[in-house]
């Protein structure tokens, strides 16, 4: 492939979407999207969760094929029926979750699925290693192709995956959140590689929540909001603030529920659980946090920022390597979830399945966390049902029948059951990961009411979410987590969604 002049020059664009729309069960996810990717261009794609970025990418990559509108590659109309067809047409994708095989060598990963064979029909190892070395060196990297993939840092693994995509002949390369797990020097190295690829005349779509990164590397930036493209501008003329206001809509700041919040952090309230400079050796780096009685602390950050790990470390599911926990001033180490529960810490994970028993009745789901309080040895099913019945009434679980199989309840009601198991004996600390994600409006409001009520009864609450609205609706103070570190803390005053997006 020869290097081509940047943009235009009479050549048709590398990729062009015209009036692309897509709906799921009657609900529009994408409305009349136009987008153009030139050869030799890096095109940044930003927008909040659910704005339509992923749907657009899945259409380009052939995952969704029943959409309206038109897609052209090099001016030729295409309509992929499968991901395989898209791949054959030169579209390659590097996902946030890498799909490399840690136990194979770097070279084997590059050639995964299409190893060259010798005349004898055996795998041509000499050629694999030679080709891989050449390919990796062409990106300006120095990696021994015989290294085991798993022993490389994530940043290098990602570049190996990128080499694989390049090797497969991709001319349109989609990168999904490529910098979320990278340290600043790794980001710089990735950008060097991307500039080399772009100089080859390939086109890159760069999807990211990290606006600084997008603005630095992109030539053009497209912003999505609510399934529509709201802006396409040259990166050089854009500022971060301008991008954020495109993302959340001009003039709407402070107008809607969850767009802004008045923080009421009160330092006179006693600290119940303090995390001091905790690190888990992987995701979390020197995270400090103070949870106070009668306060909701919000932790905001993008997917992969370390929230999930933070919640698990606080509940004793995973062990920390450095730092310490103080519970009411006394140092504690939570060796197991049972130990954390014993100390009065409660946790509702982001995925309901993780803490519910679908094929058991509601009352067993609720009583599991308090069996030892109901009786030491023998079960008392009647007491369990009574307690579950009371909780069902308190939390308006519908239907309020403790003998129902959990799996037959709606999602919102299941989430309430997950909360209900911690509410019979008030915990000291309640950790909620994505407490309202995927819930309908009514159930969401119920959960918000319940959580605020618990705060007013003196529980120290930690809410972790990737949705700014959730944080702004609930939190009394906010910490923003960025790549495993606390990037910013907001304790009082008014904050807007834009402040959270800018800090993360």
């Amino acid at each position: 492939m020869t290097a081509q002049s940047l943009s235009g020059g009479g050549l048709p664009p590398l990729l062009q979407l015209s009036n692309v729309s897509k709906s799921f069960g009657g609900i529009a996810a994408l409305k009349d999207v136009d987008m153009t990717l030139q050869a030799g261009e890096i095109h940044g794609l930003v927008g909040e969760n659910g704005a339509g970025k992923s749907t657009t990418m899945k259409i380009i990559a052939g995952v969704y094929h029943d959409y309206d509108g038109e897609m052209r590659i090099d001016g030729t109309k295409v309509h992929f029926r499968s991901a395989r067809e898209a791949l054959a047409a030169g579209i390659g994708m590097v996902h946030q979750e890498l799909s490399t095989v840690p136990d194979l060598t770097v070279a084997e990963n590059v050639f995964l699925g299409h190893q060259p064979l010798t005349k004898m029909g055996t795998v041509d190892w000499a050629r694999i290693n030679k080709e891989a070395t050449r390919l990796i060196a062409s990106l300006g990297l120095d990696i021994d192709p015989r290294t085991r993939m798993g022993s490389l840092p994530v940043g290098l693994q990602q570049l190996v995956e990128l080499s694989r995509v390049l090797f497969s002949g991709a001319r349109i390369i989609i990168l999904d959140e490529p910098t979320s797990a990278l340290s600043p020097p790794e980001v710089k190295r990735l950008f060097d590689v991307l500039r080399k690829i772009k100089a080859d005349g390939r086109g890159i779509i760069f999807i990211s929540h990290f606006l600084d990164d997008v603005l630095e590397i992109s030539d053009t930036v497209t912003v999505f909001r609510n399934g529509k493209k709201v802006a396409t501008e040259a990166a050089a003329t854009l500022t971060k603030d301008a991008v954020i206001s495109h993302m959340i809509g001009r003039g709407s700041i402070g107008m809607h529920m969850g767009e802004s919040a008045e923080l009421t952090g009160d330092d006179s309230k006693p600290v119940v659980l303090a995390a001091e400079a905790i690190s888990d050796g992987r995701q979390l780096r020197d995270v400090s946090l103070k949870l106070r009685a009668g306060e909701i602390t919000g932790v905001y950050g993008f997917m992969g920022c370390g929230q999930i790990e933070l919640a698990r470390a606080l509940f004793g599911k995973t062990r920390i390597k450095h730092g310490r926990f103080l519970l009411n001033g006394a140092q504690k180490s939570f060796k197991s979830t049972a130990a954390a529960r014993g100390e009065g810490i409660a946790f509702v994970p982001e995925n309901r399945r993780m803490m519910l028993f679908r094929t058991e009745p509601v009352y067993k789901n609720i009583s599991i966390a308090i069996l030892d309080r109901i009786h030491r040895l023998l079960l008392k099913p009647k007491a369990e049902r009574d307690i579950a019945g009371t909780r069902a009434k308190d939390l308006q679980i519908r239907p309020p029948n403790p003998n129902m199989m959990l799996g037959s309840l709606s999602g919102g009601n299941q989430q309430k059951v997950a909360l209900a198991k911690w509410l019979t004996h008030l915990p000291k600390v309640l950790i909620l990961s994505e407490p309202t994600r995927g819930m309908d409006v009514g159930a969401k409001e119920d959960v918000i009411r319940i959580v605020k009520d618990l705060r007013d009864r003196g529980v120290a609450i930690l809410v972790l979410s990737t949705e700014p609205e959730t944080i702004l609706t609930l939190a009394d103070r906010v910490s923003v987590l960025r790549k495993g570190m606390v990037a910013k803390e907001f304790n009082s005053g008014t904050i807007h969604k834009a402040d959270l997006l800018a800090a993360a």
Binding site: M355, T359, L378, L379
Partner: protein, 335 residues
Amino acid sequence: MSVTDIQQTGRLKSFLKDQLRNIAPVFTLLALVIFFSVASSSFFSVVNFMNILSQISITAIIAVGLTYVILTAEIDLSVAAIANAVGITIAFFTMQPDYVNIANLPLPGIIAIVLTLLTALAFGLITAFGVTWIGIPSFIMTLAIMQIANGVSALLVRGQIAYSYPDLITMLGSGSIFGIRWTIIVAILFLGIGHLVLTYTRFGRYIYMTGGNREAAEYSGVNVKFIIGSVMVISAVCSGIAGMLAVAYFGSAQQNQFDTYLLDAIAAVVVGGTSLFGGRGGIGNTIIGLLVLGVLNNGLDHIQIDSFLKILIRGLILLSALIINVYAQRLKESE
């Protein structure tokens, strides 16, 4: 009217789906009893029924512990080997007749029994440590323990056969009271206590919940490692006690005399309908499973059939039970 009908058929369907794992074994048992009663004149009698109970009593004691293990979605392949090793250990600690050429260590009966029980406990603790602390899958861990227990058996008897045990063991293993063999009474006792613990105690509930969704149990603050470690210990102790009684029941203690017990015990639990994926089933199921196996083994002796074919038939019965087991699980999950 029609809506209620639909609801009721729906409810009946979902009840049947839910109960498939419990209903199928009962029907299998009834079918086998009817078949053998018709096919053989000697099968259907009180004496033969007591025979069957006696024949399954040792397996029953092993199966109690194994039910606990399988309910947590783990497996214990060492049960028969531990029974063998512990049975040999009790003989090792007992004075043997002159013609038995074993360098053993005779001890007073009660001390011998306590030491032997501690041996069984030790096997269980090692398994529990490997599975929970180190994180070795129970399938492989208990395979290793099986080999170790076989090694202990081999070293203690060195190819010899022992015949004497403490009086208490001899009585419980080979004696009767009011015409009922003690092994049957012990087995009923184990099944009964096993059932009560599973159904009415907090520990039992934790076992079901751990098997039903281990992650959810952990996120609910259940000490999952403790529960799994405990069931491995319970299984080893049940196997050990079964082994002690069995050597008296057999009348001799020697290497490899428990070969069929591993498959029988697993088969009893699974044929009974306890889910291999954990969280469903119980001692009630295991009792039905034991009876199915007992009736099958005993009944095949009562009809004219190639004795080598019996082995194949048992395998086929086990396979059909496995199919029903997995199918029932899928129905349950598809709800």
